[in-house]
């Protein structure tokens, strides 16, 4: 049951990732990208990190995908999409994939089954965030504020004075 679920989610995610990477139509690729993130969140659920899965759906599908779709709308000349695809990139990507898979399969120490683990509750995540990881949390807060202000300044048009 576990293996069947894993296989299903893996096929789903990789199909939509391929669609997002190779579809010549911009909008369809962006929407496949959003669906792919639901697949990745399903991976997180399968591995027992439900909080991260929900945060992933919330941030990526709810915010980043909408941002990308808005940007596509704001930066198009007309509906004619050019299908220009550089095949050199495909060769590099395949080479990287082959290299990674060879390295993974060569390491026999990681061909292990998952140990039985307790589920990670939200309470534990909260305690870890507020006790051990409070400095990174504050830094990420400052970073997000800076990114927000920076993005606004980049996009704001100069007012005609």
């Amino acid at each position: 049951m576990n293996t069947a679920a894993f296989a299903l989610i893996a096929i789903f995610t990789i199909t939509f990732a391929l669609a997002a990477a190779t579809n010549p139509r911009l909008m369809h690729a962006a929407l496949s990208f959003a669906v792919m993130y639901i697949g990745i969140a399903a991976f997180f659920f399968l591995l027992g990190a439900e909080f991260v899965g929900l945060v992933q759906v919330f941030v990526y599908v709810g915010a980043v995908a909408v941002l990308i779709v808005f940007t596509i709308l704001l930066t198009r000349r007309d509906v004619g999409e050019r299908h220009e695809f550089k095949w050199g990139g495909v060769a590099v990507a395949i080479a990287v994939f082959v290299g990674l898979v060879w390295a993974i399969l060569k390491t026999t120490s990681i061909a292990v089954a998952p140990p039985v683990a307790k589920a990670l509750t939200v309470k534990q995540v909260g305690e870890a965030l507020m006790v051990s990881y409070v400095w990174p949390l504050l830094c990420v807060g400052v970073l997000l504020t800076a990114a927000l202000i920076g993005a606004l300044i980049l996009v704001m048009e100069d007012k005609p004075s």
Partner: protein, 102 residues
Amino acid sequence: MTLSILLVVSAALFSIGLLAALSRRHAIFILIGIEMMLAAANINFIAFWRFVPAPALPTGVMVVIFAIAIAAAEAAVGLAMVIAVYRHFRTTDVDQLNQLKG
């Protein structure tokens, strides 16, 4: 479901992201590829956290939470830059953004 097969899946996602980043000309697609690579790395973190013999510390989960936040910030700023570049050059084709070339 062993750790190796999980890492193979995330390696596949990473190379698909690399494919999108390298072989597309539209700036937004390159950003999509970068986000895919980040997501593949997040899956790696969670996979390694899960397969540790006694996963008592939520370290992997913490790193992924911060990685998601940082990736979202980077996507926002990257897309703002794409819009700003489009306003100036009226194109999103990265092959045409070569005005600094000597």
